[in-house]
């Protein structure tokens, strides 16, 4: 059935409907989602502190946030050794999950660091 499931993702596309829908371990998927969530939250906070120190205001800060999230996504994909389908059931999870929640933490720490460094 899915004996070669860990090989390239293009092979998975043809048999995807047959394999991924009935059988995957939900507990492990949940563990992987938790790992992504922790990583993204921590990187949002660190990105916010850096944006505050650098003195970004307005739109530049949000551009910086997207940049930090893109780097984190690339790091997560590299951590899964580029075989995303053996750890997640869709690409959206590893790329988009935690994006909006991280935005809130980013803005909070961005204003916090900006106030400490530039105003007080």
């Amino acid at each position: 059935m899915a004996g070669h499931g860990d090989s390239s993702s293009s092979q998975k596309k043809s048999s995807e409907v047959m394999n991924d829908v009935p059988t995957f371990s939900a507990e492990n998927l949940q563990n992987n989602m938790k790992v992504i969530y922790y990583s993204r939250t921590f990187m949002s906070i660190i990105g916010g502190v850096i944006a505050g120190i650098l003195g970004f205001t307005g739109f530049m800060g949000f551009i910086f946030y997207f940049l930090v999230m893109a780097v984190t996504s690339i790091g997560l994909i590299a951590k899964s050794k580029f075989s995303v389908h053996s750890y997640f059931d869709s690409w959206n999870r590893i790329i988009l999950d935690g994006f909006m929640g991280g935005l809130m933490s980013f803005v909070l720490f961005w204003t916090f660091a900006y106030d400490i460094v530039h105003i007080f």
């Binding site: 059935m1 499931g5 492990n28």
Partner: protein, 106 residues
């Protein structure tokens, strides 16, 4: 996990040192009455270094990914849920004397 944690703490320390340097730089600019256009180059390098350390810590500390395929190497052992449906109480421990009797013997 210990090493990743230490690297993360180190990265945060580098960032706070960069923040302190920027605060001092702004104080200097206020004395010289110039505009703040950006932190000095060594602070930017320090921020980049702290960022790299924190990325490394963020990817290693939360834990590894587990494979979700049911037939991969690390998923060989199937664990049943630990609820009452699967618990067995009719085993040979009933051959032991009751705990109440053993306590009364003291």
């Amino acid at each position: 996990m210990g090493l990743g944690f230490i690297v993360g703490v180190f990265g945060v320390l580098i960032l706070s040192h960069a923040a302190y340097s920027t605060i001092q730089y702004r104080g200097l600019l206020k004395i010289m009455e110039e505009e703040f256009s950006g932190p000095p180059m060594n602070v930017v390098l320090e921020l980049l270094l702290g960022f790299v350390f924190c990325i490394w810590a963020a990817l290693t500390v939360p834990g590894n990914f587990h494979s979700i395929h049911p037939d991969s190497e690390e998923n060989r052992i199937v664990s049943l849920s630990a609820n009452l449906d699967f618990m067995i109480f009719n085993h040979r421990a009933k051959a032991f004397p009751l705990e109440i009797e053993m306590k009364l013997k003291h």
